[in-house]
C-alpha cells in the first residue's frame, strides 16, 4: 500500500487521507493532529513560564495570561493527550487482537474528523476576538461573566470533539469484544488492548455528563437559559459536579493507555513476560471502576460537608492500591530480566519514580482536611503535572519511539531519542519539582504575576529554565523525525527483535488488510510463543480466502464540517448578525444531509480476491 502512495501525486495522497477509513491511516492522522496541538499547547506553556520567570513581569497582560492558561490546559488534555493516545490505540490495538480493521471503520474516520474540526474551532478563537479565559475547568460562575466569545468557542469546540471521542470509544469496545482472532481469549489479550478496552468503557460513561454540562452552559450563554444564574433560581455547583463526573474519569482515560504502553515496553525490553498479568488486568478494571467514585475530591472546598468529603477522601486513597500493584508488577517484570536500555525503555524506567511522586502527592491531596491548605496553590499544579507529564506524556514519547517503525516502516534514531529523553526528563523535574515547594510556601496558581521578596523569585526562575529544557527535547525529537523520514531505511516485521505480540508478526507498516490469514493465538504473548517454538511467524487459523474490506468515504469529513459551520452560526446568533441563523441551518443541513446520504446509499464494501493475495510479494509472511 505504501508503494502505491508513493506513485500517486500529492493531491491523490491528500484525498486518500481525507477519505480513508483504514485504522492505520487514521492513527497517522491522529498522530499528526495531536502532535500539532501538542506543539501549540507546549508553546503556550513556554509563554506561561516566560511570564512567571521574574516577578512583576509584563511579557503578557493579565487577561491574555488567563487566555493562555485556559488554552494550555484545554489543548493539552482534549486536543493533544487524548488524540495522541487514540493514535496508538488505532495503530496498535486492532493488530494486537489479530483483526483486519476496527468494528466501524466509517465511524472511526468520523470520530477523527469531529475531534479535528472541534480542535480547529477552539483554536480559531485566538484570531476571532480572544480565546476562552475561564480556566480549563470553566467554572460557571466565571464562565458566565466572561466577555466576548472565548467561552463560546470552548463550549462548542469541545462538544464537537467530544462526540468524536465518544463514538471512538464505542468503536474500540465493539472491536475488542467481536473481532478478536481465533484463540485470543480475554485473558490472552495484550495489556495495551486491555487498557484500551477499559479506557473506552470510561469514555462511554464519562463523556455524556460533559456533553450535558456543555449543553447547559451553551443554553445559558447563547440561548437565554438560567441553569447557573443564581438570581433566577440556578445553581453553579451543578456545573462543578457535571464537569468533574467527567473530569476525574478523564484522568484515568489518559493514564490507563499510558500504563498499557509501559506494560508492553517492560516485557519487550526485559525479554521476560509481564509479571502478574492477571493482577494487572484486575488492577486496570478496578482503577476504571473506582475512577467514577472520586470526582468530588476536586470539590473539597466547595462545601459539600464533612461526610461527603470523608467518603470521597477514602475512595480516592483506595485507588492507590491497584496503582501500587501495577508499580510492583513493572518492577518485578524487570527483576531478573535481561534488560536492554533502548529509548522506549528509558522513558519507561523514568516513568516509575516520576509517576510515583505524582501518586504520593495525590494521596496527600486526598486527605480532605489537608487539602484546604494545598487547594489552589502551585502544589496542585506540581501534582497533576507529575501524573500527566510523568505518566501520559512520557508514555506518548515512549510509544512514539516504540511504534514508529510499525506505523511508518522506519526506525527513529536511538541516539537522538536518548538525547530527547535526557533533555526532557531533566527539564521536567527542574520545572515541576520546585513547584511543590512554591505551593507549600504559599504561591497561588492561576496568578499572572507576583511581587518580589516573597521567596518565590529564584524558584520560579528554576522552573522556567526547566521548561526551556523540555522545549529543547521536543525540538530534538522533531529533528529526529525529519532526519529518519528523509533517510527512510526500511525495517522488517520485528525491528526491536524482541516483539511479543501479534503486531510484530506482520510487516512494518502492515498491508492494508493487516493479516492475509487470521493468526491462531495459542497463549499470552502469541508471537513470542511461536518464536520460542522455532517458528518464523504465526500459524494461520484459516485457509487463504477472499478478504472483505470497507470502502473509503468523504462523508465523515462532511458530517464534521457541517457541525463546524453550524457552530459559527450558533455563536454569532447572540450578536444579532443576520447571517448567523442561515449559517447554522446550512451547517446542520450539511451534517444531516450527509447522514441521510449515508443511510440511503448502500455500502457493502469490496472483496480482495484470493488470487490477488497470492500474487503479493510478501509470501514469507505467514499470518
Amino acid at each position: 500500500m505504501s508503494t502505491y502512495a508513493q506513485k500517486k501525486g500529492f493531491g491523490a495522497t491528500l484525498w486518500d487521507f481525507l477519505t480513508t477509513v483504514d485504522h492505520k491511516k487514521i492513527a497517522i492522522l491522529y498522530l499528526i493532529a495531536g502532535g500539532f496541538f501538542f506543539l501549540v499547547g507546549g508553546l503556550e506553556a513556554i509563554f506561561i513560564r516566560i511570564q512567571l520567570a521574574v516577578p512583576n513581569n509584563d511579557f503578557v497582560s493579565a487577561g491574555l495570561f488567563n487566555e493562555i492558561i485556559t488554552m494550555h490546559g484545554t489543548t493539552m488534555i482534549f486536543l493533544a493527550a487524548m488524540p495522541l493516545v487514540f493514535a496508538f490505540m488505532n495503530a496498535v490495538m486492532p493488530l494486537q487482537i489479530g483483526a483486519r480493521d476496527v468494528a466501524f471503520p466509517f465511524v472511526n474516520a468520523l470520530g477523527f474528523w469531529l475531534f479535528f474540526f472541534g480542535g480547529i474551532f477552539l483554536n480559531l478563537s485566538w484570531f476571532l476576538g480572544g480565546a476562552p479565559d475561564a480556566g480549563w475547568t470553566s467554572y460557571a460562575s466565571l464562565a458566565l461573566h466572561s466577555k466576548g466569545h472565548g467561552v463560546d468557542f470552548y463550549i462548542l469546540g469541545l462538544q464537537i470533539s467530544g462526540i468524536g471521542t465518544l463514538i471512538g470509544g464505542i468503536n474500540f469496545l465493539v472491536t475488542i469484544i467481536n473481532m478478536r482472532a481465533p484463540g485470543m481469549t480475554y485473558m490472552r489479550m495484550p495489556l495495551f488492548t486491555w487498557t484500551t478496552f477499559v479506557t473506552s468503557a470510561l469514555i462511554l460513561f464519562a463523556f455524556p455528563p460533559l456533553t450535558v454540562g456543555l449543553v447547559l452552559m451553551m443554553f445559558d450563554r447563547l440561548f437565554g437559559a438560567n441553569f447557573f444564574d443564581v438570581t433566577l433560581g440556578g445553581n453553579t455547583v451543578i456545573w462543578e459536579h457535571l464537569f468533574w463526573i467527567f473530569g476525574h474519569p478523564e484522568v484515568y482515560i489518559l493514564i490507563l493507555p499510558a500504563f498499557g504502553i509501559f506494560s508492553e515496553i517492560f516485557p519487550i525490553f526485559s525479554r521476560k513476560r509481564l509479571f502478574g498479568y492477571s493482577s494487572m488486568v484486575f488492577a486496570t478494571v478496578l482503577i476504571g471502576f473506582l475512577g467514577f467514585m472520586v470526582w468530588a475530591h476536586h470539590m473539597f472546598t466547595t462545601g459539600l460537608g464533612p461526610v461527603a468529603n470523608a467518603i470521597f477522601a477514602v475512595a480516592t486513597m483506595a485507588i492507590g492500591v491497584p496503582t501500587g500493584i501495577k508499580i510492583f508488577n513493572w518492577l518485578l517484570t524487570m527483576w531478573g530480566g535481561s534488560v536492554k536500555f533502548t529509548t522506549p525503555m528509558h522513558w519507561a524506567m523514568a516513568f516509575i519514580p516520576s509517576f510515583l511522586a505524582g501518586g504520593v502527592t495525590g494521596v496527600m491531596l486526598a486527605s480532605a482536611a489537608a487539602d484546604y491548605q494545598y487547594h489552589d496553590t502551585y502544589f496542585v499544579v506540581a501534582h497533576f503535572h507529575y501524573v500527566i507529564v510523568g505518566g501520559v506524556v512520557f508514555a506518548v514519547f515512549a510509544g512514539t519511539h516504540l511504534y514508529w517503525p510499525k506505523m511508518f516502516g522506519t526506525m527513529l534514531n536511538e541516539t537522538l531519542g536518548k538525547i530527547t529523553f535526557w533533555l526532557f526528563f531533566i527539564g521536567f523535574h527542574l520545572t515541576f519539582f520546585i513547584q511543590h515547594f512554591l505551593g507549600l510556601w504559599g504561591m497561588p496558581r492561576r496568578v499572572f504575576t507576583y511581587l518580589p521578596g516573597q521567596g518565590f523569585d529564584s524558584a520560579n526562575m528554576v522552573s522556567s529554565i526547566g521548561a526551556a529544557f523540555m522545549g529543547l527535547g521536543v525540538i530534538v525529537m522533531l529533528y529526529n523525525i525529519i532526519v529518519t523520514s528523509v533517510k527512510n531505511v526500511k525495517v522488517g516485521n520485528d525491528p526491536w527483535g524482541d516483539g511479543r505480540t501479534l503486531e510484530w508478526a506482520i510487516p512494518s507498516p502492515p498491508p492494508f488488510y493487516n493479516f492475509k490469514q487470521l493468526p491462531l493465538v495459542r497463549g499470552l504473548d502469541a508471537y513470542w510463543l511461536e518464536k520460542m517454538d522455532g517458528k518464523k511467524g504465526m500459524t494461520p487459523a484459516e485457509p487463504l480466502g477472499d478478504i472483505h474490506m470497507p470502502n473509503s468515504s468523504f462523508l465523515p469529513f462532511m458530517m464534521a464540517l457541517g457541525l463546524f459551520i453550524a457552530a459559527f452560526g450558533a455563536m454569532y446568533h447572540v450578536n444579532d448578525k443576520a447571517w448567523a441563523l442561515p449559517v447554522m441551518i446550512i451547517g446542520l443541513l450539511v451534517t444531516f444531509g450527509s447522514m441521510f446520504l449515508r443511510s440511503v446509499k448502500d455500502d457493502h464494501g469490496f472483496h480482495i480476491h484470493k488470487e490477488d493475495l497470492m500474487d503479493d510479494d510478501d509470501k514469507g509472511v505467514k499470518a
Partner: protein, 208 residues
C-alpha cells in the same frame, strides 16, 4: 452469509439482526450507545431534580400549578403503544413478512407523531402560563430534559421514515434487517426514558 444474498421465508435466519459480522457489531455497538445515552439522560434528570421549582419570584408558576395529568397520560399511552407496534414490526421482520412489518412500522411512526403533536401543544400551553425556557432555572431544566426526549422522538421519527422510504421497494435482506432492528431498540429506549419522565417530572410534580 453475505449481506446482499436473496432470501425466502425458509432460508431466512432465526436472528437476522445479528447473523453477519457487520450486523453483530452494529447490534453490540448500539447497545453501548444506549449505555452512553442512559448517562446523558441521568445527568439531565439530576439537573432537573436539583432545579425543580427553583424560580425567581413567587408569582412564577410551579410544577404543581402547571402539569395536567390527562394530557400527559394520553401522551404516555401513545408512546407506550408505539413501542408495542414496533415489537410487532420486529416479529414480522423475523418471519420475513416485509409488508406486515412496514404496516406496523408505519403505525409506530404515526403514534410517535401523535405524541410529538401533544408535546408541542403542551409546551405552547405552558408558555402562555408564563413558564418559559428563559423565565427561571426550573423552566430551563424542564424544557431541556423533556425537550431532549422530544428531540430524540423527532429524530427517531425521521430515522423510521428514512428506513421505510429507502427499503420500500426491495424487501428484507441481511443488510437492512439489522437497521430495522436497531431502530426498534432506539425506539424502546426512548419509551423507557419517557416512563421515567412521566414518573419523575409529572407524577412527582403533582404530589409535591
Amino acid at each position: 452469509m453475505h449481506a446482499d444474498e436473496k432470501f425466502t421465508y425458509e432460508t431466512w435466519p432465526a436472528a437476522p439482526e445479528k447473523s453477519t459480522l457487520e450486523s453483530k457489531n452494529k447490534f453490540l455497538g448500539f447497545w453501548f450507545f444506549l449505555g452512553g445515552e442512559t448517562v446523558l439522560f441521568a445527568s439531565l434528570f439530576a439537573t432537573y431534580l436539583a432545579l425543580k421549582d427553583k424560580v425567581p419570584s413567587s408569582s412564577h408558576p410551579l410544577a404543581k400549578d402547571l402539569f395536567e395529568l390527562p394530557l400527559t397520560f394520553v401522551a404516555t399511552m401513545l408512546l407506550l403503544t408505539s413501542s408495542l407496534t414496533s415489537v410487532y414490526a420486529m416479529y414480522h421482520m423475523k418471519n420475513f413478512a416485509f409488508k406486515k412489518m412496514m404496516v406496523w412500522l408505519g403505525l409506530t411512526a404515526l403514534l410517535g407523531a401523535g405524541f410529538l403533536g401533544l408535546e408541542v401543544y403542551e409546551f405552547t400551553h405552558y408558555v402562555h402560563e408564563g413558564h418559559t425556557f428563559t423565565s427561571s432555572a426550573f423552566g430551563s431544566a424542564f424544557y431541556t430534559l423533556v425537550g431532549f426526549h422530544g428531540g430524540h422522538v423527532a429524530f427517531g421519527l425521521l430515522w423510521c421514515l428514512t428506513l421505510m422510504f429507502r427499503n420500500s421497494k426491495r424487501g428484507l435482506d441481511l443488510y437492512n434487517a439489522p437497521k430495522f432492528y436497531v431502530f426498534s431498540l432506539y425506539w424502546h429506549f426512548i419509551d423507557v426514558v419517557w416512563v421515567f419522565i412521566f414518573t419523575v417530572v409529572y407524577l412527582m410534580g403533582m404530589v409535591g
